[in-house]
Symmetry: C2
Subunit: 430 residues, 2 copies
């Protein structure tokens, strides 16, 4: 049974706080193991990467076979049926068009004193994209990471995707092909992150690593942060559906199930002003789960981590949404745009009855890499800006420097940095 | 003696690679100690924060005296001379005006299919600013962290600044006052980061932590990343001066010294097309160092980590600049704007002979929190965007959903996520 709360009940605050604090990730202490793997890859390079991959993925790679060959990629991609390739192409094209609109513009201006100030945006040179192997090997994730990088102007994209027991996912390679990725390595885990961050003889280092992974991958990304840039540390996926009496209980139920079927800590929460809708959704989830081919994962997820919360108003729902700061928020009302300004913390908001979250996972055009585990309080979904950086520009005329010298030298003085002050004053004594 | 290289020498690549790879940070293994401190603060809250602070900073705080009182702040700030306060106010105002221009705009549009897509920017609710105590306790850093947060619309800013041996830096409190910060705690180290990230009875948790610190602070930030957002992991400061024969050797020398006086691994590099300028700068550094009141730190830094590199052309200088990816790049030529487009990796670029880097540290208006240790390859300086996050919006009409259903359901199928596909198809069978 999912948790069921009413915001009017006396112990609501306590139970809601429990829901917020629920531990959803297995936080095994993998720090030391990962540190050892990174050190090994730094010391022994390709040989360590091959050995570690063979051990963890039961493969038989050598330094010479870490990379996929061009023909191998083409052959695997060719196995993908035409309608799947067409669907991936549609997704690719829509993601590309939307992300083109995220490209920042340089802005340089000169102020009244004669100081030139500005920002210049440039692309990261080389990016590594981590794609999980096995169960969670998603071609859509390849597109969601690669397309913003391409749009940003990243020159080199290196993809790593482990092949447990040698199994290759042809759809993932087809997605890479559509995204224009030609450099692909059949490696994963902390050793792949280490190889991307520090480079080996056969894998040149990158400047930034993005993409989701298991606890080893997340810990490795945390450890190499600084040596390279990383995106967020991804946690289990989650959806919050806000619904009033206008919502269709079958549709809401389907969306809750779609999230729960990710398993591994994925969480579905319904917040509604309508207790009858809550009842109907709960029944519908049960009914629809029984129709799902692989229902156990979704059922376990829903029963363990699912929640239904009755509230007095949509405003109250928005207040809870801000405290939950969910990765995905669906607004299943007739006038979703009225609630949007009240929701400050959310990775993505899905508007109205006809926008299931899953459409955003694939072909909506927006990015499906979004902040999880309440990190929407401070983080954004993946986008073009994640693959660019801003260089600030500053230029003084002699008169601007004269005008600013006194306060600058004063502050340098109180900071006990005389050399700073002198680098300014020396220019005034000409 | 600083390192002196000529790009024409046969072993240049090897020596330049050595310069790039020079280890400038003491990477003590503080991971375990920091993890223990964080666990202690999570378990015992204010009591742990007070105990740890008393131990490391030789103070005698209790949970009741962690926070500065309003009168205490006012009293300390009143000690600051008027001309210093005026200088800080000038810096504050110029930083504010420039950062106002960084505020992003929301963008929502509907495409030809009838899909609404967009981005909404909102401020982070609560930010913690770490200000180091002791030697590197800089009022300018208070402004550089607080002003962008204020401009972003952050509602609550909590500042922590340790007071080793009970010593308070009044200028730091004056800067906080000018920036409108009223919540200030006299704590530091990993325990301050833990308190900000997880909250205690007297210190409510924040959503993001910014600001520089020692190895314990940097490690703590790395460990709490995910629970809260963090800015970059700051390393030693660095400057790269690109100069041709038009440069004034005294001014270039002063700028190299200004960087070196930070000590603690700070690095100054001159790249020039003019060997005679190189000689003159080297002599000038020596001469000016002898005039500096506290010359030893700067002299040690320059002799240990300084470098002068002779190149054949400014284009070659730009190429090296991109490999060094320096925090600060000065272009000491008559036409700096011609070189700017060729420099892709730099935290900030300072244009021309009359823009010493130090002007940007204080009153230029741009931010002085910039990516160090080659991280300009993937990171930007601190700005308003660091205190905001983007929520994406997606909305489908019934016809847009119908048009997109087939490719979405197809990809859900190959990803083995039937519930995803059903959440779309169930909306088509009305």
């Amino acid at each position: 049974m999912p948790l069921r709360l009413d915001s009017a009940q006396v112990d609501f605050e306590q139970l809601f706080a429990g829901l917020l604090g629920a531990k959803r990730e297995s936080s095994k202490d993998v720090n030391d193991a990962v540190a050892a793997i990174i050190a090994d890859v730094r010391a022994r390079g390709d040989v360590a990467v091959a050995e570690l991959t063979n051990r963890f993925d039961r493969t038989s790679l050598t330094p010479d076979t870490l990379a996929f060959g061009a023909e191998e990629i083409a052959r695997a991609a060719a196995e993908v049926p035409d309608h799947v390739r067409a669907a991936l192409q549609t997704a690719h094209d829509r993601i590309r068009v939307h992300h083109e609109k995220q490209k920042p513009e340089d802005h340089v201006y000169t102020d009244a004193l004669g100081v030139t100030l500005g920002a210049r945006w440039t692309a990261v040179d080389a990016v590594g994209i981590y794609v999980p192997g096995g169960l969670a090997s998603y071609p859509s994730s390849v597109l969601m990471n690669a397309v913003p990088a391409r749009v940003a102007g990243v020159g080199r994209i290196a993809m790593v995707v482990p092949t447990p027991d040698g199994a290759i996912n042809p759809t993932v390679l087809a997605a890479a092909q559509i995204a224009g990725i030609t450099e692909i390595y059949r490696i994963g885990g902390a050793q792949a992150v280490a190889a991307l961050a520090y480079g080996t003889a056969s894998i040149p280092r990158v400047d930034k690593i993005t993409g989701p992974g298991n606890a080893f991958v997340a810990t490795a990304k945390r450890q190499v942060f600084g040596q390279v840039g990383i995106d967020m540390i991804a946690g289990p996926s989650e959806v919050l559906v806000i619904a009033d009496s206008s919502a269709n209980p079958s549709w809401v139920a389907a969306d809750l199930i779609a999230q729960a079927e990710h398993g591994a800590g994925a969480q579905s929460i319904l917040v509604t002003t309508d207790a009858r809708l809550a009842d109907a959704v709960e029944r519908e989830v049960d009914r629809q789960l029984s129709l799902l081919p692989k229902q156990q994962l979704a059922r376990d997820g829903w029963e363990e981590l699912g929640a239904i919360i009755i509230v007095a108003s949509l405003d109250e729902a928005a207040g809870l949404a801000n405290r939950i700061a969910s990765e995905h928020v669906e607004i299943a009302t007739d006038a979703p745009e009225e609630l949007v300004p009240k929701i400050r913390h959310a990775g993505a908001i899905f508007l109205g009855h006809h926008t299931p979250e899953a459409i955003g996972d694939y072909v909506g055009g927006s990015n499906h890499v979004l902040p999880t585990a309440r990190s929407a309080r401070f983080a954004s979904g993946l986008g073009v800006l994640d693959f660019m950086k801003r260089t600030s520009l500053l230029g003084c005329t002699p008169s601007a420097l004269s005008a600013l010298a006194e306060p600058a030298v004063t502050i340098a003085g109180v900071e006990d940095l005389d050399g700073h002050g002198r680098s300014i004053s020396i220019r005034l004594n000409r």
